[in-house]
């Protein structure tokens, strides 16, 4: 049951996403029945599942929502922009309810009651409440631990008064057409007690006049049973309206309830040719005469005689079958294992290549050619495997439309989110880790970027602002852009703020782009009043850091009066990394390429001592701290000579620049990332490990941690390394 519950919530996610897509399409003006139907179905499915798990609150709300959607579906309501706003809010509440139900929480009543009331008001026609279909299904908890059910009458219930029922039952052709069977009805009836049944065959025409789709028999039944009339009637539940039926209990004619009467009336009205009730007792018992059996549609043989006709519909059914893209669901662990194995394969192939090079085979030898083919194949396998874990950014983008709605509502702005490139795929872990920085930037765009409707109108723009979210693949990376058509960055204000906070000198010469980039400095906040929306203690510096932690870069551009664009470039996967392999004290280390600004050959004149052990390096007109990677990581005790080394200028997530001193640069390569935490333990200054072609392990530097550790060390003059900076 727990597994099904889990499936239910997974499915809810999918339904919620379908719903959101549909509602947004409706909001854009598409009211075709397929869109509306899809939204209806999504809500309907959630309600259905929620009912099975007794999630009353969820069932209630989904029901209200569904009713409104049904009105739209049936044309009783035509969506207006106002109405769509309510619907979109209802969608958010539904998502909250699903989440609350999953976590076993109650949701804050007021937050959804207003929305529930709004939704309900949509179904009030002319202020009058439409006769709402009651929620007819009582949530039932399903208990699969039940013993085998028994439909045998509980005959041991001695003392229960027994009733005598007289039943007249005349099936009409529809009964047989719908695959109901008189014999089965009689069988069920027989289980309720002692039954005598008589078949009246007097309506049976001559053989040549028999219509194989006709119904010619009627039954008179006497049943002695302890069951009440409701149970007897239940036997006929499925054939209501397909037969003339009267049940007399203990000599009292049945008082049929209005429902049945109406149905019967409807059924009778629709078939005026219905045979009159024949109640004459036939001397024959329930055994059907053989001739009748052959002709009666109740017989199983009858259809088989018509097989040639039966073939005809086949092509129709085929034509209706639209080929659907089939998918399988696989546990994430399995994919991870596969990715790991492919990583091993890549490493193994690299090792093999190295051995072949060492063995000095001729370039045209079959070994070298074979190896090239293997290399090609390995790369293809690696790409295909990575593609398994790739998923479109669509769900992530969809979540953002909710953020836009929330922030717009809270700030009284009118904002529309437009998305593009939603189908662009990227590794699942990247998608997951993008959610937070993206949310923050979207909030910023609405809160700081877009002006108030009045200000926009005054500036000659439409009152409604647009935030655009796009994704695209560009040279092996994914580029995500968030742009708004707001006022753009107020550079004057940004600069003044940075000066006030002591981040820049009052007379610093900064280009427009330099000023824009001040936003990324730690401790910078553009809002003169910190609103409760974006002022959540998270600045753009944190966003930048999380993007860099993903191996990504972020940049900003802005035009006064026309808006700002934040552009991020990210790797498609976190399983491989572009790095620069360097040598330090005989070890090979990998520096992530994203952190590297440039590499330099230092001269001794550029190096200056700072404090007891610290050194800085002059790069053009500034000084940057110099980090001797060899001593920093404990590979050697004494500092290396800068003249015989290479300096790699790196930038940390916080924007700080440092120079890493290494012995030499080997090459630039893509490496398969192996988690150090999972395989060994956390090591400060090291982000992960990889395996080289020669089988040796190479450590991947964590530039931020390395810089942080070094900085503290040089200031305090004592070894602070290893405290986990």
């Amino acid at each position: 049951m727990a597994a099904i519950r889990q499936t239910f919530f997974q499915e809810c996610e999918e339904q919620l996403s379908e719903m959101e897509i549909g509602l947004l399409a409706m909001d854009e003006g598409s009211t075709d029945s397929e869109t509306v139907n899809a939204v209806f179905r999504a809500v309907h499915s959630i309600k259905g599942g929620a009912g099975a798990f007794k999630l009353t609150q969820l069932v209630q709300f989904a029901h209200t929502f569904e009713t409104a959607l049904d009105f739209v579906r049936s044309g009783k309501l035509t969506p207006t922009p106002e109405m769509m706003k309510i619907m979109l809010r209802a969608a958010d509440v539904l998502a909250d309810l699903v989440e609350a139900s999953r976590d076993g929480r109650e949701i804050n009543e007021t937050s959804y009651e207003t929305v529930a009331a709004d939704i309900k008001s949509l179904t009030l026609v002319n202020g009058e409440e439409e006769v709402e279909e009651p929620i007819d299904f009582q949530p039932t908890v399903i208990d699969f631990g039940l013993p085998e059910i028994s439909i045998e009458p509980a005959s041991e219930e001695a003392g229960a008064s027994s009733h005598e029922y007289r039943i007249n039952f005349t099936p009409r052709p529809e009964l047989y057409a719908n695959a109901n069977e008189t014999a089965l009805v009689l069988r069920e009836l027989n289980r309720l007690g002692v039954m005598e049944a008589a078949c009246d065959v007097s309506a049976l025409p001559n053989l040549e006049n028999i219509d194989s789709n006709g119904a010619y028999f009627s039954w008179s039944i006497r049943l002695t049973s302890e069951r009440d009339i409701a149970e007897v009637r239940e036997v006929f539940e499925f054939v209501e309206g397909e037969a003339d039926l009267s049940i007399e209990s203990d000599g009292q004619p049945e008082v049929s309830d209005a429902d049945i009467a109406a149905l019967l009336a409807m059924a009778l009205g629709s078939s005026p040719a219905a045979e009159p009730m024949v109640t004459s007792e036939s001397p024959a018992d329930t055994h059907e005469p053989e001739t009748a059996a052959a002709a009666a549609p109740a017989s199983a043989e009858a259809p088989s005689a018509l097989t040639p006709v039966g073939e005809a519909p086949k092509p129709d059914a085929k034509a209706a079958a639209i080929p659907s893209q089939t998918t399988i669901r696989v546990e994430f662990d399995r994919v991870d294992r596969l990715i790991n194995l492919v990583g091993e394969l890549v490493i193994n192939q690299a090792m093999l290549s190295q051995r072949v090079i060492e063995a000095n085979f001729a370039g045209s030898s079959s070994v070298v050619i074979g190896l090239e083919e293997l290399e090609q194949l390995t790369r293809e396998i690696q790409e295909s495997v990575m593609a398994i874990r790739a998923q479109p950014v669509k769900p992530l983008f969809q979540r953002m439309s909710r953020i836009v709605r929330e922030v717009a509502d809270a700030t009284g702005k009118e904002v529309r989110l437009k998305t593009d490139g939603e189908a662009t795929e990227v590794d699942k872990t990247v998608v997951e880790r993008l959610a937070e920085p993206l949310t923050h930037m979207i909030r910023n765009a609405v809160d700081h970027g877009i002006e108030s409707p009045e200000a926009r109108l005054a500036a000659g723009k439409p009152a409604e602002g647009v935030v655009r979210l796009t994704a695209a693949h560009r040279s092996g990376r994914i580029v995500i852009e968030i742009s708004d058509d707001g006022a753009g960055i107020n550079r004057h204000k940004v600069r003044a703020s940075a000066v006030k906070k002591g981040l820049i000198a009052a007379d610093a010469q900064l280009s427009d782009s330099d000023i824009d980039n001040l936003l990324f400095l730690p401790g910078f906040s553009t809002a003169s009043t910190i609103s409760n929306i974006s002022g959540r203690g998270v600045g753009m510096d944190v966003v930048k850091r999380s993007i860099q932690a993903l191996g990504g870069r972020i940049s900003i551009s802005s035009r006064p009066g026309q808006g700002s664009t934040f552009s991020m470039s990210l790797p498609l996967t976190l399983a491989v990394l572009d790095g620069m392999a360097v040598s330090v004290a005989g070890q090979t280390l990998v520096v992530p390429l994203t952190a590297i600004v440039e590499t330099l050959k230092p001269k001794s004149a550029d190096i200056h001592a700072l404090g007891a052990e610290g050194r800085v390096m002059a790069i053009r007109d500034t000084f940057v701290p110099l980090i001797d990677v060899g001593t920093q990581l404990g590979f050697r005790d004494t500092a290396t000579q800068p003249e015989s080394s290479v300096a790699i200028l790196v930038e940390t997530g916080g924007g700080a620049r440092n120079a890493l001193l290494v012995d030499s640069i080997q090459d630039q390569r893509q490496v398969v990332i192996k988690s150090l935490e999972a395989n060994y333990g956390t090591v400060a200054g090291i982000a992960a490990a990889t395996i080289l072609g020669d089988g040796r392990v190479a450590l991947i530097l964590d530039v931020d941690a390395l810089v942080a550790g070094s900085f503290e060390e040089s200031l305090s003059g004592e070894l602070r390394y290893g405290t986990g900076g």
Partner: protein, 121 residues
């Protein structure tokens, strides 16, 4: 002999529940995700009873029932409608399409199995 039930429902949750309840009761279970898929399954096998949802993408329950009834091979296969709707008009529509009976969602396994046994020969 073990009877085979084809369940047609777009909700995975509902399919899982049906499979569990039916398998427990000793039925062989076939499943389809919508009407179109249901018809495809029917090309390969003939179940003893079909249990279908109404609201589904591509082809809904009504469409499936009509298509099944049109095919002479399946004229005699009982079709139970599994639905959250219980109003008379919907039942009437299902009946007109050719449904044999109905079960109201959320179903109780005992009721579901009783309904299946009631229509299965």
């Amino acid at each position: 002999m073990m009877q085979t039930i084809l369940t047609v429902d777009d909700s995975r949750t509902m399919r899982d529940m049906l499979r569990m309840a039916l398998a427990e009761a000793g039925f062989n279970v076939l499943q389809a995700v919508d009407g179109v898929d249901g018809l495809e399954v029917l090309q390969r096998s003939t179940p003893d009873v079909i249990v279908t949802d109404i609201n589904m993408p591509k082809m809904d329950g009504f469409g499936l029932i009509e298509a099944v009834r049109k095919d002479n091979r399946y004229r005699k296969v009982p079709i139970l409608v599994l639905t959250t709707e219980s109003d008379a008009a919907k039942k009437q529509r299902a009946k007109e399409a050719g449904a044999t009976g109905w079960i109201v969602k959320p179903f109780e396994p005992t009721k579901l199995i009783a309904a299946i046994r009631r229509v299965a020969a």
